[in-house]
């Protein structure tokens, strides 16, 4: 079964898949990685965004990516609201914020799932666009165009976010608040407001990521459960809060999954990626590119 050609194909497809994983995880890299919020409802927001995109695509025939862009302001507001609630009820009250925060976000995730079911039913949904269902021929290989779209958008998204966090004033403030909240406070800035803004951005990014999710494959209301493991795995493997690390870790995950799917027993694929995560945690708990 083994051949260089197959291996090469698996690597290429794995890189594309990995970039998609990066796009759905990068928001979590900010909210969990930088802000320390145990945001297990992140994938639920992601699926919610996909349904938003679906609705726009279905009723107004808007391109899914544009639809994703269109709902980002709304998700920015969701993010502000979610962080404000989280902060007021947990962070302010101290010690076991993380434990109860997890329960809180699990609750939110369940509520989102049910609301989606009540509105859209349990059937899976997908979108239409000119680039879905076609492929691009590259020598002997054929690559699905939707994967290339996801790849390009994901790269742009992570690059923009990385630049934003390192070059702009607000971006630097966000990094600063992650590193030393107290120092920032002494300098006269309001760390809560900065964190709230950062959480807003992390959630807004989900608009685009949700569009990619439904472009790559159909979605159903409880799809978020499958992404809890994957997104947290990427963010932790990356080293909390590192945007470039997120991209690298996601690509490693994508390539590993793709190689196992192609060349070894596909049924072992999920175990391999998570075994890698456990390995990284055991050997290098700060992640590949930890801060």
């Amino acid at each position: 079964m083994f051949s260089i050609d197959l291996l090469l194909g698996a690597v290429v497809l794995g890189v594309l898949l990995g970039c998609f994983y990066a796009a759905v995880s990068v928001g979590l890299s900010v909210s969990f990685g930088l802000l320390d919020v145990p945001h297990v409802a992140h994938p639920a927001f992601l699926v919610l965004a996909s349904y938003g995109v679906y609705q726009l695509n279905e009723s107004y025939d808007i391109d899914p990516l544009l639809a994703g862009l269109a709902i980002t302001p709304l998700f920015f507001l969701f993010g502000l609201l979610a962080y404000r609630t989280y902060h007021e009820t947990f962070e302010k009250r101290g010690s076991d914020a993380a434990v109860r925060g997890i329960a809180f976000f699990f609750g939110i995730a369940f509520i989102i799932e049910v609301l989606i079911i009540l509105q859209f039913g349990v059937d899976q949904r997908s979108v239409t666009a000119t680039y879905i269902g076609k492929s691009w021929r590259f020598g002997e290989m054929r690559i699905p165009i939707r994967q290339l779209v996801a790849f390009a958008v994901a790269l742009t998204l992570t690059a923009l976010l990385a630049v934003y966090l390192s070059k702009t004033f607000m971006g630097r403030a966000i990094r600063a608040v992650a590193q030393d909240e107290e120092a920032l406070r002494l300098m006269g800035a309001n760390p809560v407001r900065i964190k709230q803004y950062a959480f807003g951005i992390a959630t807004a990014v989900l608009g685009i990521a949700g569009a990619l999710l439904i472009i790559v494959a159909p979605v159903e209301p409880t799809l978020d459960r499958a992404y809890i493991g994957r997104t947290f795995c990427v963010v932790v493997m990356a080293g909390l809060g590192s945007i470039s690390g997120t991209l690298i870790a996601a690509i490693i995950l994508g390539v590993a999954e793709s190689i196992v799917l192609t060349l070894f027993g596909a049924s072992w694929a999920p175990a391999i990626s998570f075994a890698m995560l456990l390995g990284v945690l055991a050997v290098r708990p700060q992640g590949l590119l930890g801060r």
Binding site: M1, L13, D123, Q124, K134, I143, V216, P218, T222, A226
Partner: protein
């Protein structure tokens, strides 16, 4: 025997005293079941339940069973095996239902099989696959058209071999139903000396099938048998369309769950063309029996407000047929005695809206009526097109056939 006389007497009183329209005085006949209304099986479960509800309303409009009104007691099992034992215990011991229907699908049904056997209760099965083979309960009757365990793979391989297929690739989901299909497919292939050149099991929640399809192509199979679940069926067909499977593939499909549901079919649209897949009921002219058309008229109306599958071909008419069989059995035995009903169901052939049904000793169909049908001329984004005949041409079984296989797969896709 005493009880039966008593029941008969009660019925006579009911008929003489009140006439058929006033069955409010009589306690209703309760039929209990769990049904997946949340979780992975909910889409199918809700459609199946609507089919059963339509039967209930029809039978009540005719005056009920034995002059008594029929009532359904339905609980949600969340698509999980761990919920059903408590639910069926409640149905039997607390609600004291008169008859039991099984939930849609194998996993929620498996845990209640030993329970009904031990209590000696009749259970009408609802699309489980070979759930009785190890339990051996003689009061189990499955409404699904599956028939003998290996007939599914056999019918597909018949078609494949006729088209010149010599070796097989097997792509199956790592889930209960698909794995059971894969087992029989391997067996049948072995018996017929068809080498299996590719045998891959993929995990649930696989996002991207491009790499798997590439690996499959590398094995150069000419029969591709796929047993997949709804979310993956779409992913596989997309990847097949984009990557291609090569001109040597004679036939593709077989056991893809999901391609029977309206939402999935309209999502996939033209990607479906050429795929040969199993089905249970299709709007082809050979499939209409007494009452079939009336049933779908009612279903189509009620599906909209119930937010369930607008077509409802796969499960709903079989839910209705399950009711019809019970109706016939209760009316002819004139009692609710479960042993008597089981005896009647085992010994007779039953007329239903999905055709005549006769049971083998294991409670499955004597002969398989599982269709293998090929998608043809399907356009994108149009649910209504599937209501007209010719979109899914029936190739098997012989009795119901409405066309011939177009092969190879690539030719059939155009």
């Amino acid at each position: 025997m005493k009880r039966r006389t008593f029941l008969g007497g009660a019925m006579a009183v009911a008929v003489v005293g009140h006439g058929s329209s006033a069955f409010a005085q009589q306690p209703p006949i309760k039929i209990g079941m769990s049904m997946p209304q949340t979780g992975g099986l909910a889409g199918g479960g809700k459609a199946s339940l609507l089919g059963i509800e339509i039967w209930r309303d029809d039978v009540n409009a005719k005056g009920g069973l034995l002059g008594r009104k029929v009532e359904l007691v339905v609980y949600d099992d969340k698509s999980s095996a761990s919920e059903t034992p408590a639910i069926y215990a409640k149905l039997v011991d607390v609600d004291k239902v008169d008859l039991l229907f099984a939930p849609y699908a194998t996993v929620p049904t498996a845990p209640i099989m030993p329970f009904v056997k031990q209590r000696g209760l009749l259970l009408m099965g609802n699309f489980s696959f070979q759930v009785n083979s190890k339990v051996g309960h003689d009061m189990w009757f499955n409404n699904a058209p599956w028939g003998p365990a290996d007939s599914w793979a056999a019918s597909f391989l018949d078609l494949a071999q006729k088209a010149g297929g010599k070796n097989m690739a097997l792509l199956t989901a790592d889930q209960e139903f698909a794995q059971n299909l894969a087992l029989t497919a391997r067996d049948v292939a072995k018996k017929r000396n068809i080498p299996v050149v590719f045998d891959q099991v993929y995990p649930p929640n696989t996002v991207e099938f491009s790499s798997i399809i590439r690996a499959l192509n590398a094995a150069k199979p000419d029969i591709v048998y796929v047993a997949s679940y709804p979310p993956d069926s779409a992913g596989i067909l997309r990847a097949v369309n984009e990557i291609g499977v090569g001109d040597n593939v004679k036939i593709f499909g077989g056991g893809m769950v999901g391609l029977q549901f309206a939402a999935v079919m309209s999502n996939l649209g033209s990607l479906l063309n050429g795929v040969v897949n199993y089905n249970t009921w299709l709007p082809e002219k050979s499939m209409y029996f007494e009452g079939t058309k009336e049933f779908f008229d009612k279903y189509t109306k009620r599906a909209i407000e119930a937010k369930v599958d607008p077509l409802g071909y796969y499960l709903a008419p079989f839910g209705y047929a399950m009711g019809q069989m019970i109706e016939a059995a209760v009316n002819s035995t004139k009692s609710l005695d479960q042993k008597g009903i089981a005896k009647y169901l085992r010994e007779n052939e039953h007329k239903t809206i999905v055709g005549p049904i006769a049971f083998a000793a294991d409670g499955e169909r004597k002969e398989t009526a599982t269709l293998q049908a090929q998608f043809r001329g399907v356009k994108d984004k149009d649910i209504e097109q599937f209501r007209s005949p010719g979109k899914q041409v029936i190739l098997f079984p012989e009795k119901l056939k409405t066309g011939e296989l177009i092969s190879p797969f690539e030719a059939a896709r155009k």
